[in-house]
């Protein structure tokens, strides 16, 4: 009962924040709301008894990505906010498409379907997750770390000033 209410609070917060992220004119404001959204989602995770995930969410998303966004905004120094109207495509089409998709998927998800196995009630223990991660999904885990390494190097290379071409 309580859990449900908490979930709904966090859910509502997440949705509202997300909407606000998309609708802000000022990028800095969007980032703020993004942070808020991330935290709300983490709260949802906790409600869903996916503690590990929630923790990671706060650490990585909130601590890393959001901070990264802030830095980028500062560096890129968004000043002007141009018209947000798209000119190249019929707006109806662009609006309609996601709506269609939403409708479809909703239909799929909420239509009659083979019943999911009864809720287990408790969430999945952290221990189980860790075991799963390091046994079945060991290779992807290692590869992921490699990916992170590559990304690290790559991002630096891409973002560095090209001294040869730069007129500065």
């Amino acid at each position: 009962m309580i859990a449900q209410a908490v979930f709904y609070v966090f859910a509502g917060l997440a949705v509202v924040s997300a909407i606000l992220v998309v609708l802000q004119k000022n990028a800095m404001h969007s980032v703020l709301y993004l942070a808020f959204t991330v935290l709300s989602v983490a709260g949802v995770f906790f409600c869903l008894e996916a503690e590990y995930l929630g923790a990671i969410q706060i650490l990585v998303y909130g601590g890393g990505i959001v901070v990264l966004y802030i830095f980028v905004i500062i560096i890129v120094n968004l000043k002007e906010v141009a018209r947000e109207k798209r000119k190249l495509f019929p707006k109806v089409f662009i609006i309609g498409l996601p709506i269609v998709l939403l409708a479809e998927i909703s239909a799929v998800i909420f239509a009659s379907r083979p019943a999911l196995p009864s809720a287990s009630g408790t969430g999945v223990a952290f221990r189980t997750v860790a075991e799963e991660l390091f046994s079945t999904y060991l290779i992807p885990f290692e590869l992921a770390s490699m990916l992170l390494l590559a990304v690290l190097i790559g991002a630096i290379i891409i973002a560095r000033r090209k001294l040869l071409h730069d007129p500065d």
């Binding site: 798209r86 190249l88 495509f89 662009i94 498409l97 996601p98 269609v100 998709l101 998927i105 239909a107």
Partner: protein, 665 residues
Amino acid sequence: MFIWIPLFPLLGAAANGVFGIRYFSRRAVHTIGVGTVGLSFLLSALSFTGWTRSAVPYVVTKIYSWVPRSLIPVLGGRPASVSFDFALRYDSLAAVMTLVVTGVGLLIHVYSVGYMAREKSYARYFAYLNLFTFAMLLLVLAANLAVMFIGWEGVGLCSYLLIGFWFTRDAAANAGKKAFITNRVGDFGFLLGIGLLVSSLGTVDTAEISALVGRGALGRGTATAAALLLFLGAIGKSAQIPLYTWLPDAMEGPTPVSALIHAATMVTAGVYMVARLNALFSFSGTALTVVAYVGALTAVYAATLGLVQHDIKRVLAYSTISQIGYMFGAAGVGAFGAGIFHLLTHAFFKSLLFLGAGSVIHALSGEQDMRKMGGLRASLPKTFPALLVAALAISGVPGFSGFFSKDEILASAFAARQYGIWALGILGAGLTAFYVFRLIFLVFYGKERFDGEVKTRLHESPRIMTVPLQILALLSILGGYVGLPRVLGGGHWFGAFLESSTGPHRLALSGGTEIVLMLLSAAVGLGGIWAAHFVYIQKEGRPAERFSARFRTIVDVVRNKYYVDEFYNTVVVRGVLRMGRLLHWFDDHVIDGLVNGTAALVRRASRLSIGFDQDVIDGAVNGIGSLNRLLSSGLRRLQSGFVYNYALSIVIGIVILISLLVTLF
């Protein structure tokens, strides 16, 4: 042995024709020309004696195998099979004919030496004359219709060559053409007749045909048709109605030619052919009647024309036509032997008449118009008697050859109850006597109507010309006695001799009737002479002039040859020319139109094809290219470089995929 008879003239013709014109002297030319014919005559005589002694009915010698048994397609029937060889046949008829051709021919050849003495194309003349002799001999010696046809065509060719001998003269050239073309019409019938016989009897051998007809192998209708077709050839060759118009014009040729070809020999080929195929003609009574009437009518008709001619040779030409009519008349009543008998006597006196006329013309330096002659009796002491004899013979005066032969014809007609033929014959006899003596009186009697210059050159002909005349005169008298009828104490040897070829023939007349008929025809003949004498000597032609004045229209019509030539010209000649022009138009417009039209069509089709190729084919090819361009330009827009669009595309793709999933599950 007899097969060599035609050979010598052939060699003579070849020699004179090939070399004579350039290399031989005149003496060489006429030696060869005359000599070869002389040799042939000799051979003919020898063959005759040898054959009569051997008492063989006939001899056939094959020279080479010509057509082996072969199939000839026949219109609307089973194919006929025929085979024939190049073969010659010697029998009584052939014997007589060869003797006539070579004998009279020899005399005329000799005469020609004198007559053509100053002729430039001496060698050509003798070559042609020899060639003619060869062809004629081939004709009479033929064992089958194919060989006969070779001779038939050969004499036609030589006739053309000799009539148009002086071809630089328009009149001569046209006369030659006219002769050949008119002949051709007849030859058309001849060929059809041969064809009909081949298809129905399967043979061209004359003896075989006669035998088969005798056995009834031929239907009467077919026989009549074949006989009439063959007779058409005879009409052309022998100048009977309606194909006679070439003979008077043929007088353009040298006079000896007229004597030989158009009196004695070629024109008699038709009679010979009928006599040869007497079995066929006898079998078909209709054909025989046609022959008789054509002959008799021609005899009278031509005689009327001979009455009004001024040209001496034209008179004789019409006379020939008339006399040959008598021969056909004889054949037409079944008296084939009588016809051949008259052929014999006619050869004598007609060639004599022609040669004599030639002598007169020669003496008068080429004058042929009788109105410009007269009183030549004294000046031509050798020519005159000879011509007189000939005239008496042709008039049927008793004692002369013509009397016996003509009388036999008339008697045969009477005996066969063909009184119409007989009547026509009698009428013709009277006319004949009249016109021939008109000629004699106009030429030799009366006032001299030629001008002074001609008179100074007036001379009798040289011996080389007069001797043949005299020989022929003798023959014209004595020649008839070979056929002296029994009723007059003779043995009718000639007729009997010929019966082995011409079939038996008995005059169904009592002796008395025959004598009466004889007297009648003699009277008519003498009457004609007297009438001519009356008109032209006693009255010096005035009655004739008065008659012409009074009956001017009729006389003019006759003088203009009944306008037959004009009729032929308008109807036939113009008709043929018009048809030629029509066909030419047809060829020009229709045929060429078709050809050009086809060409135009092809061109248009090719243009269409090009168009098709360009528009459709190339269009397709280009179209594919354009389509490609269209698609690619369209598709290219996807690659706008506009990243946003790429993102949108991803979303669209997801939508589609989900849709698919949804619908499929």
